[in-house]
């Protein structure tokens, strides 16, 4: 009995005064110090090793967290709790023909044909809209590659007036949480090029490609991204027929959550 009381007394002294607990060390350097001789074991399917001594938290394991990954990043909550964090990068929209597992291979199917008229030689229209939701504040990278062909609006012939045109794509949010502009001119990711031809050859009509891209820091919420087609002809010159999407048209929207 005396022995037990003595042990308990020593332990309370140890913890109460030093406020430190060592595992396999008599000189803990932190509140909890896990020490001991080291060994290393590979985690199958990864290039990461378990290096001992370390600690195991069953609340972070796959069974309890209903996950199947071999590794998940760990974060700390506002209360200081160790928790699993979300993925470090989240693909929100990916449309291209490179990864054959993609549901969609081309974001403009079928191609869109727009005819300018003599009274209206500036084209400003939404090619396609994409909805996405951010569950946490994120850096979001938008990227599109979009194909164009230019013909004469009246008959589909080659435009040979030698007048310079502007053409390309840009983005705008048509829906976004408070604080993010959905104004009519709140464009981003502009990629506007020039086109000028004077020779009657179909070689000169396309296919052209332009790439819009931008990276924004955005709050959590639900968004609608409009991919906008822009083309402008001088009002006195030949109206264009714009064929958008006849080539390989790809898009990616990728979120990098800010923890």
């Amino acid at each position: 009995m005396m022995k037990k009381i003595l042990i308990l007394g020593i332990l309370i002294f140890s913890i109460g005064v030093r406020s430190q607990v060592g595992i396999a060390t008599s000189a803990p350097q932190k509140a909890l110090h896990i020490s001991g001789s080291t060994s290393s074991t590979a985690i199958p399917g990864t290039s990461v090793n378990i290096v001992r001594p370390t600690m195991r938290v069953d609340g972070l394991n796959n069974t309890n967290q209903s996950t199947t990954d071999q590794l998940r990043p760990v974060s700390v909550s506002d209360k200081g709790d160790l928790v699993l964090s979300g993925a470090l990068v989240k693909p929100l929209v990916v449309i291209d023909p490179i990864n054959t597992a993609n549901t969609e291979k081309d974001y403009i199917l079928p191609a869109v044909t727009i005819n300018q008229t003599s009274g209206s030689t500036t084209t400003n229209s939404v090619i396609r809209s994409f909805n996405f939701t951010l569950t946490s504040p994120s850096l979001v990278k938008f990227s599109t590659v979009t194909s164009f062909q230019f013909l004469r609006a009246s008959d589909g012939g080659v435009v040979t007036d030698g007048s310079n045109r502007a053409w390309g794509t840009r983005y705008r949010f048509s829906a976004a949480p408070a604080g993010i502009s959905t104004a009519a001119n709140a464009y981003f990711g502009e990629s506007i090029r020039s086109y000028n031809n004077a020779v009657n050859t179909t070689d000169a009509t396309g296919t052209f490609y332009t790439a819009s891209d931008d990276t924004l820091s955005l709050p959590a919420g639900t968004y609608t991204l409009d991919v906008n087609l822009f083309a402008a002809t001088n009002t006195t010159q030949t109206p264009l027929r714009i064929i958008c999407g006849g080539g390989t048209d790809t898009i990616s929207i990728v979120a990098f959550p800010i923890q």
Partner: protein, 253 residues
Amino acid sequence: MKTQKNTLQMTSKKLNMAAIAIQISVCCCAQIGINTSAPQQALHISGTGTGIAQPVIRIDGLNSTNNPAHESTTSTKRVFADANGTLVIADNAQTNKFYTSVSLPSTDIPAGTERPVTSQSFTLNYPSIVHVEARVGMNSTDNISDPTSSTSLLERNGQARLFGSYYKLTAAPAGVATNTAFGQVIISHSTNTGGAQLNGQFYIEPKKDLYLPKGNYTLTLYGYAQDNTMNFAVNSLNQATQKMMISITPVNY
């Protein structure tokens, strides 16, 4: 007295292990508090301190002496849990990888052709977002300012002549399309009969984000000259900073 002396000579290791055992038995609630009598989680390390001052956990298996995932004695690593909830750390190559090609070699792109400019192999250890980009300087290599040259006369007709650059994967695992162009930027060069004409340089920036499965890949940058009269070149200036870059971020492990 002898018994007490022996007790005092117990190693600190044993004492500390015993301390945990006693805490559990005292609490009777499967929770251990360090510096608190009311633990809020299975293990609750309480107290006050800022930065890495107390109270924090030190895990010797994650330090730079024991764990080669540290790039240096001053590196700070993201912590991961494995499938069992065991805490591990991963080196930079497991969280982000970056490849830079050699400087784009000066490459002629004969009229009406596409030509590979440079290739870079890379490996994905996990399904990843792969970002590729390059700045590609291109110019016409014909003498389009000389009114006495027949080539120049042919080309000074105001035609839009398309040129550009894009990528293809020339090696990839199953499920990924090879020899399919992506990340295209294709624009045009137009001349006319009057005055001297400019060959370039025009800089274009083909780039693309792909979501790809694990495996070994080779990415090839192409130059493209659509028109069958006008010749182009990529990086005829031999600018050392014209390169192709690949950055990789795993989506899951």
